[in-house]
Subunit: 237 residues, 6 copies
């Protein structure tokens, strides 16, 4: 029934390749089917003004798409003169999601910026960015711990994300672009490795959903995130 | 237990006053406790480029806060040179939510812009904007129908929104600012008058939540939205 | 002869309602006929760089129009990416006018920002903003004096403004939009309560005027401002 | 009494040199004392959207200051990313003033843009820009008439401007920078060659003025403008 | 003598991997040592306004660096609100260089945009972008020819680029970052496959050079470009 | 053969007039044929952040064109909201070129900004800007030396620039606009008074060139710069 022939609860193939760039404190290329996102983590000693002097750390994220990561070429946001609304929404989501897995006291007064740049898009880029971003973050934190700059591990639990939605009336896991552009209802589910929910963003364009459908989609998301957390662990091993 | 003394499932006082400005095709001031939002609806004969010639209508929204709607003065976005990320997120949400109650074929190739400007803020401004925005939209559509420009009612069901969250470990309905700034987990729930879900945005800053808690919050939201839909109907009567 | 049926030297009905928002140190809604402007005053302990350390205070203003305050919807300046030329001109005028009633030594090194947001426009918004802005400023200064932060009253005289012009060849007081869009010559007159002139901005689009006509218009303005100063006093009583 | 030793009603030396640039349809360098402004006029066949198809012409102006036209270097507006509020105010004034001397029906549906760039500033740059701008405009219109593109002269009367103010309590004509920075009250007076007033902008920073003083300043302005109109005629002869 | 141990006339290892993204009409990852640039080519049926209707084609380029392609993280240009001066210079150079190898009549009225995004930087990114950009362009043109949209090959000769400079007083080929940041004199040499020069940009920061040294560097560049043209051919085979 | 009737190796008439503005520490109007550029130099005690505390000085440049310096009016960059790519390239080139003649240790920790504003353009504006800019810089440095702020002369050698190119297949010196718009190959050559090369920017639009042609052009440039250096010396004498 799905355009790709996948089963309703079947994820696309996931691979996470680390060590992509030599400069960053953490980096990986995450591939979820044909969605490829390059994630890097950068450690800096400064924090945003609103927490200066608080002793707390900060994790933030930025997101971008290469102009030809999509079927037709998108205008480069640097030439448009600003990040679009969708970009801003997504990078705020990535940052908020990653922070949910971080003990900011243990991190200490420093900032880690996770950059997520989409090399090739086929649906679910923000979820891939969160999942890959956590791997880059983990590597950067490992660097801090090896150097003795941080003594107690500030990462309390892995964080991963998957999209689910109603496609042709059926709840499906991990929508690709073909499904995403048809689905009237879809959502992004961000969970921790221990199964706790961090963020749920269900939205409908020209459709609605019930409490029961919502519950089914969360169930699918739990399955998907469990697989993603395994892939994160394997990449970091 | 709540700072305001309200019960866990108790909304703030809601009032919706219509006819606020003489120029707009629809307008109201919605007051949810100390949160006051002025909503206007404007009908235009043009539609965005991506649907030109499709015969479909469009409903969109813009959101703003007056500089001193908040405890300390915010910088005016027009002087900052752009709308901030939060503003963009919110106005996209308002537009998407209102469209979920609209039959865009019946509306015909025209655009209705709903402007939501916060006069005074005390938590829950985006939910108030959706609820009040729907009233302004309803009035504008009534104008079209009276003029015979639209023959079949394009508004399929009222749309309203409320925020719920976990405050001091308890699920509470309709968070005010004092609660919102403390709640680790909170969400915005947009529903139609028939009880169908349109959008759910649950997020956690430094906390997590379970499937069960999520379900409890949806239950509260159903109660709240039912009351809001009654207030909409009363204002329009 | 006037579209509204008013006499040549007749102002529109004026009302000033204070206490509009709970957060601001001063606030009012001024209504001059169908022109409605919300004015708030905000006290801040910082001053602009060019007077830092001088011991002098500063009063400044910002002006905006809600998108649907006008007959057809205006583009929101925050989405346009900047304040237009007209807005900048007006807010500079408001600030300059209010400062003419302020003893900046007595105010001490702090800044008061007066925000004037037009809720509904029907001509004369900048004059209404000045007149209402002074009320908000007065309230804010009262707060400082009650708190003992300021000992000698820095407000030396009320400031108010009215527009006058030549309509159908006749000098008229307080132009509304219907008159303003027809008048070849019109001006804004800002005066203090003691009758001294602060600012006169006479301009003509496709017309000219004589010294005698100018003098007549100033005479009308004196009448109008006297009435406005009374309305300010009544609102503050 | 004046820093320059001039009498109260004495203008600075005025010279207007035409033919400054070979590309423009009209150009001059106006020097009013040490204030030097380069003015050019450009004819274009297009008009702004709001008068397209009306058969009416348009005259507009732009104003700029070279970064080192002033005592200390100013930031270049092109690097600041926008024209400042003062610039916008001034160029709107120049355009409005010049249009007051133009019969837009006779001009026909074309636009003339007058660029006024300050090479060296010593007070009164906007008045010099108007006076010199009119000369460039006159030359450009002459070109149109010689070519037969315009048959009836669209320039109804020369336009010139001068600043006057209260310096050390005395009304003085044509303020230079030393006077302008001290004067509590000063104004710009734009008149036609026939003595009719086009625009009066009196403003006070930290001071006020009476009707009588205003009248005295207009008297001075009439004297000054008469001399400027003679200088315009001589330059064009 | 060189930090990398290379001989004076020795290039870094070069590899060009095609087929990097599935959406673009042409794509490759070029690696020149540790400098990695992703190049894509996009065909569009529109051309810039200045050649509309001329029958001529256009080739243009855009350049960007991922924030963490460098040793320390760079600010993302999309958040800075504009492309920096260096970026603009580089992308203009890439476009101009590629066009030198294109017969724009044979291309026909269409545009090919070459996007060059630096994944990892270690000196010479603009030269790598040109060399890799030509490969992507070649692939895109092949697509057009296979489809019969273009009948005569519009690519007249391959284009490639290399940097050379004076390092420790010696002329060296293909500077890496360690050399580039020390070299007082360095240049970018863009040549066609037939050895003709297209562009030479020699510049010195705190140093100068002679005609003889310039000639030596061109000689080195000829050697380097010959090798790059071979690598292009191999990648496309 | 040349449109102007000049010989292949003949420069246009050059004049450099100093003392153009009374405010700047150095200023001149350079005229190379019909290309007229006003250059000013401004001394400031601050330096850019990246050399603060280093004891080194900085020389930078900004470039602009008046809107009607060209045949058709150009849009003012201040209204466009940013400097265009060409402007940024040129002002970076001017600054880099001038710095090549400066001993930044001897200059001491201060900045000199050279503003180059094109009053009338007829080809070669950037070269004229460099040549005239050096004269303004020399004057500003003389001021510092007379005041004893600088003891050893930081200007090691004059810097001047000229464009050369292939016009109708022939190498020609100092291209004017008519030649420049036809020449397939042209370049800017910046040299010091002692004949050392500082920067060479050869580029071709729709053409190529050989090593031999490049060498011929450098020969012409040496001749031209020698004449320009004489003109600089004469202007400063």
């Amino acid at each position: 029934m799905r355009p790709s022939g996948r089963k309703l609860d079947e994820m696309r193939a996931v691979s996470i390749e680390t060590g992509i760039t030599k400069h960053a404190e953490g980096s990986c290329m995450i591939r979820v089917g044909d969605t490829h996102v390059l994630c890097t983590a950068t450690i800096e000693d400064r924090v945003p003004p609103f927490i200066k002097g608080s002793g707390l750390g900060w994790v933030t994220a930025e997101y971008g798409m290469l102009p030809r990561s999509t079927t037709s070429r998108m205008r480069r946001e640097a030439t448009a003169g600003k990040q679009g609304g969708r970009t801003v929404e997504i990078q705020r989501l990535i940052g908020r999601s990653l922070r949910a897995g971080v003990d900011r006291v243990a991190l200490g007064e420093r900032q880690i910026t996770v950059d997520c740049d989409v090399i090739q898009a086929d649906g679910g880029t923000r979820c891939a960015a969160i999942t890959g971003g956590w791997v880059a973050l983990r590597q950067a934190v490992n660097t801090l711990m090896k150097a003795g700059d941080v003594t107690s591990d500030p990462l309390v639990s892995p964080v991963a994300a998957v999209s689910c939605g109603l496609y042709a009336g059926q709840p499906v896991l991990d929508l690709d672009y073909a499904e995403d552009s048809e689905a009237g209802v879809d959502g992004n589910f961000i969970l921790r490795g221990d199964g706790r929910l961090i963020e749920v963003q269900m939205s409908a364009e020209g459709a609605t959903f019930s409490r029961g459908e919502m519950d089914q989609l969360i169930g699918l998301a739990e399955t998907g995130v469990a697989a993603l957390v395994d892939a994160q662990a394997a990449a970091l091993a």
